[in-house]
Symmetry: C2
Subunit: 336 residues, 2 copies
């Protein structure tokens, strides 16, 4: 069943069928109707490979996900998929481990699948112009930006939080509840990562409240896993039993931390308060419910795809969307 069959079926040429298929104007009403009916009757489906062969790229974008185990990403990716679908695009995802080079993975993906663009999810904040030059297609950073790199704003798009500001908010929320011995649970303070940025917000909030930062209260787990967060929290509380509050940079790490606190006999929030950033579904069901700053996961994914398709299809300029969190008050923060 090819375009030829359809053409033969209605006694027209293949070009006419092609025109109907692509909504070209130069087709008479009657012929157009006849062809459309034939397409329906014959259950004709265009062969995308042939279609794609003609143009140099295909209607697809890739998403390179670093740390696909992160439950925060699932709804984000689903939203991307939906939006891409709606626009007639295929979303091809490539899951990489934290040690892999996301740019190399993306470049490879672009070339082998002939993609029109890339979405990076959970990537590094320090791309260089040299690196991204290998990409050859527009890209958007989802949930991060190029703060530590040397890219010009016009060279890429991003949809992200103001990580430092949000971390400031979270920390301040704890301080406002009377806490002063506040720990932070993060991947690393100095890896030019999301942890670094949020650490800055944490420090700034402490400073503004006249509290000196103690580096020992920064629990650096090395990654975003629950297992490491659990271990880190155990260690923290054993060495610093006077900590009364913890700011975790992610919900899932906070959930693991709460488990560690419980295993040590600390009650949340009576003994130790916990706040995080994310707002994943399962943190609604912890006991007590996790207090957290919710990111609009659907919007994140949807907007990332919208932005990239804008620059791909409409030649729009690169954009930098800043999204805001909303506080979801749970039961994990108590007053002192």
């Amino acid at each position: 069943m090819t375009i030829k069959d359809v053409a033969a079926h209605c006694g027209v040429s293949v070009s006419t069928v092609s025109r109907v298929l692509n909504n070209h104007p130069d087709v008479s009403k009657e012929v157009r109707a006849k062809v459309q009916q034939a397409i329906a009757e014959l259950h004709y489906v265009p062969n995308n490979s042939a279609r794609d062969l003609v143009s140099s790229t295909i209607d697809a974008i890739g998403v390179v996900v670093r740390g696909s185990g992160n439950p925060f990403f699932t709804p984000v990716i689903n939203a991307m998929d939906e939006e891409a679908d709606k626009k007639g695009y295929t979303l091809i995802s490539e899951l990489i481990s934290p040690s892999d080079d996301e740019i190399a993975a993306a470049a490879e993906l672009v070339r082998s699948k002939r993609l029109k663009g890339i979405v990076f999810l959970g990537g590094r904040f320090d791309y260089t112009q040299n690196e991204v030059a290998t990409l050859g297609v527009p890209f958007v950073c989802c949930s991060f930006d190029n703060r530590f790199g040397n890219l010009d704003e016009s060279e890429y798009s991003s949809v992200s939080l103001d990580d430092t500001a949000e971390a400031y908010k979270a920390t301040e929320y704890l301080l406002d509840h009377g806490h002063s011995k506040v720990a932070i649970l993060l991947d690393s303070v100095d890896s030019n990562s999301i942890g670094t940025l949020r650490f800055r917000g944490y420090c700034a909030a402490l400073k503004d409240h006249g509290i000196p930062t103690e580096l020992e209260l920064a629990v650096q787990t090395g990654d975003f896993s629950m297992a490491a967060a659990y271990d880190g929290t155990l260690e923290l509380m054993r060495s610093h039993p006077d900590v009364t509050a913890i700011f975790s940079i992610s919900d899932s790490m906070a959930i693991a931390a709460m488990k560690a606190l419980s295993d040590l006999g600390h009650r949340v929030p009576e003994d130790v308060s916990v706040i995080a950033i994310d707002g994943i579904e399962s943190s609604l069901y912890t006991v007590p419910t996790l207090t957290t700053l919710c990111q609009p996961q659907q919007d994140l994914g949807r907007d990332a795809v919208k932005v990239i398709l804008g620059v791909i299809n409409e030649g729009a300029h690169n954009e930098h969307l800043r999204i805001e969190t909303t506080l979801r008050p749970g039961g994990t923060v108590g007053s002192r």
Copy 2:
């Protein structure tokens, strides 16, 4: 940069380059080396669209996921992706809502993307021969089978649990701990779904222990969402405060149930015990740790892809793999 350029670059014909590309034997050592070097130097990447155009299908399989919000699926899909990648295949995923028709979605996907096979994840147990005839490619059911349909074993593959047997085990575990007022938390008892099968195992275990089934103790939530599981549990415990144990057909529903129990002031496991089937990461971090029958999620995904690629590439017969769970004793089951 096409195959032609590479050919010209080393003064051979395109067919020779094509042979090298596809590892055909009939190429001399020297020429092969020369061509490979040219490919590397020129950074030549084959155009898949052209390649695909020649053959009638492309090296890709689809996975149709019903209920993509389910955290149980994430590691399964990731494992599929990895295995497909390893075999040089692209995995194209299509997320559908529980109300969508998965076979229609799959058929559409196969036709538009020209796939070689389909993996169904979380689908119905009652496909008919007429339905699947529209598919036209081999398929494998992942996490379920065709128990309620009329397919012959040779017509499809499956990788799944023995749901009834596993539910029997879970229920018996509660009974062995002295419980007799045991509720079950599921989507539905009679929808020919996974819930139906597990309900059977639950009933069988009760019966074997001389306990009559009370339909009122079956909490039917209508779906697999945490929200519905939470509400269902609230209702159950208000109307049947004498329930001492709950078997949940999924971890995430169990987590929501534990939250409901806590909100009602019931302690786990002192007042009410909980057991489930799944073994997702986050159920390791509930307080107490969820007692559950773990499914090997990685194996599930990997094996599903292995099986389908076996029948696609090697003309292997359809297979029906049964995987077993392993009990992960947590702290949510107490003795009476």
